[in-house]
């Protein structure tokens, strides 16, 4: 059980390199965090990874099968996508929204049945949103909506979970609620998780692997502890950074403190590796 990108290349315009020859692979139960400054192509990478945008060359494969060769519904029974939480034009009740996650198992003309509703209920329990049943999604806070969207993804009973900045815009507590849930899904349910994040702290907290996008098609991929160093973070964000470690009980916590903006060295901002 692994998801793999092989020499993926994509850019919107020929003259501006965005993603070039990106390759990575993560095994089951692992968490991958994708990090990088704004506009570097994190979301684009996610869209290409899932086939929303076509790789100009290279491919994404699931257990060795090119996802383009997989029937749409088959693919989405294994891979679930959680978009950034935002309100839709038409809002649905929480339970109906989660039930939509069963869609990959239903034909165009079929309705969800009793079994689908039961699975949706389990998904809501897993994501901790059963208390929101009966509410309309438009009445939810950002944190609640994010959890509902995760529940919707879980209703597809996926092996892979792909989340686009799941903790952005949330308060401290809700950030941790989401991160803990993601961690639990990976450790207990053996789900493979890929997420975009703006926060190195969060990557350090939950991820096994990181993919760093430096821009101009340059990237680094590797195990979090070796890869997400202060040096790399400086190069990544153009900000001087201090790393603070704090022991609390048995557990060690790492905080990343942005100190000062580094003077821009233009094109050579990233480090030589």
């Amino acid at each position: 059980m692994s998801i793999e990108v092989n020499a993926g290349t994509f850019s919107y315009r020929k003259e501006k390199l965005l993603l070039q020859d990106i390759s990575f692979s993560i095994g089951s139960g692992e968490i991958l965090a994708i990090l990088g400054p704004n506009g570097v192509g994190k979301t684009t990478l996610m869209k290409c990874l899932l086939g929303f945008l076509p790789w100009q060359s290279g491919m994404t494969s699931l257990d060795g099968t090119d996802i383009r060769a997989m029937k749409g519904r088959k693919l989405w029974q294994q891979v679930a996508y959680v978009p950034q939480a935002r309100q839709n034009t038409f809002s649905y009740h929480v339970e109906d929204m989660v039930l939509l996650g069963r869609s990959p198992y239903l034909g165009d003309f079929s309705m969800p049945g009793k079994k689908d509703r039961e699975i949706a209920e389990q998904a809501m329990e897993l994501a901790g949103v059963t208390h929101l049943i009966g509410k309309s999604c438009s009445q939810l806070s950002g944190g609640e909506l994010q959890l509902v969207l995760i529940a919707r993804a879980l209703a597809a009973e996926p092996s892979y979970l792909v989340l686009d900045e799941p903790e952005s815009g949330l308060d401290f507590r809700n950030q941790l609620v989401v991160l803990d849930l993601v961690e639990r899904l990976s450790r207990e349910k053996n789900m493979t998780v890929i997420l975009n994040t703006h926060y190195p702290d969060h990557a350090l907290r939950v991820s096994d692997q990181v993919l760093l996008l430096f821009g101009q098609g340059i990237y680094q991929f590797g195990r979090t502890e070796g890869m997400l160093t202060a040096e790399h973070m400086r190069a990544l964000f153009g900000v001087d950074i201090a790393v603070w470690r704090e022991m609390s009980g048995e557990k060690e916590y790492t905080a990343v403190i942005p100190l000062e903006i580094l003077p821009s060295k233009g094109e050579d901002r990233w480090i030589n590796h």
Binding site: K47, L50, G51, F52, G72, R73, L75, W76, Q77, V79, A80, Y81, P83, Q87, N88, T89, F90, S91, Y92, H93, D96, L100, G101, S103, P104, L106, D108, F109, S110, M111, P112, S136, S138, Q139
Partner: protein, 334 residues
């Protein structure tokens, strides 16, 4: 499930109301027919007089047509609102109504009989939506955004609207122009058994297709990526929804002319009652639309000796009903 129970009660009540109103409408009209006579005609024996002719050649086709038209327009409106994630979308959004209007006006100008006019209207209504697809194709091979589809629809719509004006401009103001003008305001007086039989499969088929796709419509109303991630074959499902709604609308307009408001008002009434889940909105739109159209048409032919154009009545009745409902429900539920 509370929501389901409420829905069932409303559905049952509106179906019952449709039956009652249809029976009442059979009795009412230029000359009154006793209910007992109507029942006897319907279920026991067929007379061989004016009453029989009136019932079977005029009132029954007309009542059935108004039910079909209301159901079809409301379902199409609900479908387009979800498809375009836009609460203001109507069955006319892609220019079908204007295309069909042009076809009808052309048919009337050329002096075609009722059947020919229905044919040209249907042809140009479908033509309009095919043109929209063609414009989209011309813009490139990539997956077009729904906003571009709406824009293409507006372009085609205004093109046909201009062509309608052109025909009105050249039409003889003594005889042809009033016919075209009246036709464009919508009416059920031209419904015959033949026109009903032609439009029945189109409206029935289109509405049934939308009904079958109702759970998919929920996924379609989300962002494109979310819909894709639910395993929805966007190209196919969008084409099915557009095709079904366009066929329904073109068939309605080709027989009854342009009937505004129903496609916008009725789905929103359903939304206010049951929320936005299309598993409720679509069937509720079908029954409420049918009931509303039947009542409006019955008024249109009974209030005055001369018929009132339906479009006028849908707005005059629809607007206050809508405002009343808005007040009662505290606005459209998000």
């Amino acid at each position: 499930m509370k929501q389901g129970r409420k829905f069932e009660i409303w559905m049952g009540a509106s179906v019952l109301l449709i039956l009652i109103c249809a029976l009442t409408a059979l009795c009412m009209g230029q000359f009154h027919i006793e209910l007992s006579r109507v029942m006897r005609e319907l279920f026991i024996e067929h007379g061989n007089d004016n009453v029989h002719t009136t019932l079977y050649n005029i009132r029954i086709p007309r009542i059935l047509m108004s039910l079909l038209a209301g159901a079809g327009l409301a379902a199409s409106g609900a479908a387009f609102q979800s498809l375009f994630s836009n609460p203001l979308a109507t069955p006319d959004t892609l220019g079908v109504a204007n295309g069909a209007s042009f076809g009808a006006a052309l048919g009337l100008l050329l002096g075609g009989n009722a059947f020919a006019v229905q044919g040209t209207a249907l042809f140009f209504g479908i033509m309009a939506v095919l043109l929209v697809f063609l414009v989209m194709k011309g813009m490139g091979p990539s997956n077009p955004s729904m906003l571009m589809v709406i824009l293409a629809g507006m372009v085609i719509s205004s093109l046909f609207s201009a062509l309608v004006s052109l025909i009105k401009y050249v039409a003889d103001p003594q005889d042809v122009l009033p016919v075209i003008t009246f036709w464009l305001m919508g009416r059920f007086s031209g419904v015959t058994r033949k026109s009903l039989l032609v439009s029945l499969p189109l409206i029935g088929g289109g509405t049934a297709m939308i009904f079958l796709l109702r759970f998919r419509l929920n996924a379609l109303s989300l962002s494109e990526e979310e819909a894709l991630s639910m395993g929805v074959n966007l190209k196919r499902v969008r084409a099915l929804v557009i095709g079904a709604a366009a066929m329904t609308t073109a068939a309605v307009v080709s027989v009854c002319g342009v009937i505004g408001w129903v496609g916008l008002l009725i789905p929103h009434i359903a939304r206010m009652l049951f929320g936005n889940d299309n598993r409720y909105v679509v069937p509720a739109s079908v029954t409420f639309g049918a009931l509303f159209m039947l009542i409006v048409d019955t008024l249109a032919r009974c209030v005055n000796a001369a018929e009132i154009p339906v479009s006028i009545l849908t707005a005059v009745i629809g607007a206050p009903v809508f405002i009343l409902l808005l007040r009662k429900s505290g606005g459209i539920r998000g």
